[in-house]
Amino acid sequence: MNLFVIAVLVLIFIFLGSAVIGLLKGGKAGSDRMFKALRMRIILSVLLFAFLLLAGALGWIEPNGFNLLPTQ
């Protein structure tokens, strides 16, 4: 499960990379590439976030033990 989450995160970074290449390329083609890449990255990010919440709710994954915070 962790590998799947990391793989999707890596994919999101690849789309970010593709977007910055489009940005630097410039012009209509570059702008199109950037927009499509950023759109894909936000879709994947939202899906990954939803998956994490769902997987946590269903008990597929457990939050780790590093999240200590003071509480009242």
């Binding site: 989450v5 209509k28 950023l38 915070l69 003071p70």
Partner: protein, 185 residues
């Protein structure tokens, strides 16, 4: 011979620094005994991952969605929609920062500081550094909104908008990474 040398060094260290322990000084975690030998707080428990961390992640991801709609509106030449989506993006960024400041207030009030062991330093380093970038992003988005209002961009010429948009998406992804690695994996 070496045993004698080791003993001499130990004696020497104890004479210089009584109570010295050869350990990384920041390895204590909240609830442990602090560096001065006093527990800085005993009132700690696991934070609810579904609470503020998830809420802030949702806020930033939503700001990514609104920015994508703003980007689309710019490319389609819909100026009013562009300004509305940009305003929404900025507002979400400000709300995110507000929640983070509130959380810092609670954490600091309860004794979690940069000096509170390895957790305190890591927590503030990761979230603080990211929060700083979000602050910069909000300022840049506000400047872009001002420039949109001034009519600086058109369908062909909007590099500044796309540069700032990419930055915001990057900051967004970094937070998602923090959320995953700090709270889940």
């Amino acid at each position: 011979m070496f045993h004698g040398l080791e003993e001499s060094i130990t004696t020497f260290i104890h004479q210089l620094w009584e109570g010295f322990k050869a350990a990384w000084p920041l390895i204590s975690t909240p609830g442990d005994v602090g560096q001065n030998g006093v527990a800085f707080s005993t009132n700690f428990k696991l934070v609810d991952t579904w609470g503020l961390p998830a809420l802030n992640t949702g806020l930033l991801l939503t700001s990514g969605v609104t920015l994508t709609y703003a980007h689309h509106a710019l490319r389609a030449g819909h100026r009013d929609a562009l300004m509305a989506w940009m305003l929404a993006t900025i507002a979400l960024g400000v709300i995110f920062l507000g929640f983070q400041i509130t959380e810092y207030g609670h954490a600091y009030h309860d004794g979690l500081k940069l000096t509170s062991g390895i957790y305190g330093s890591t927590f503030y380093l990761l979230t603080g550094f990211h929060g700083f970038h979000v602050t910069i992003g909000v300022i840049m988005l506000t400047v872009i909104l001002y420039r949109i209002q001034k009519g600086h961009f058109n369908l062909e010429n909007h590099f500044a908008f796309e540069g700032v948009a990419w930055y915001w998406h990057f900051v967004d992804v970094v937070w998602l990474g923090l959320f995953i690695f700090v709270y889940w994996i």
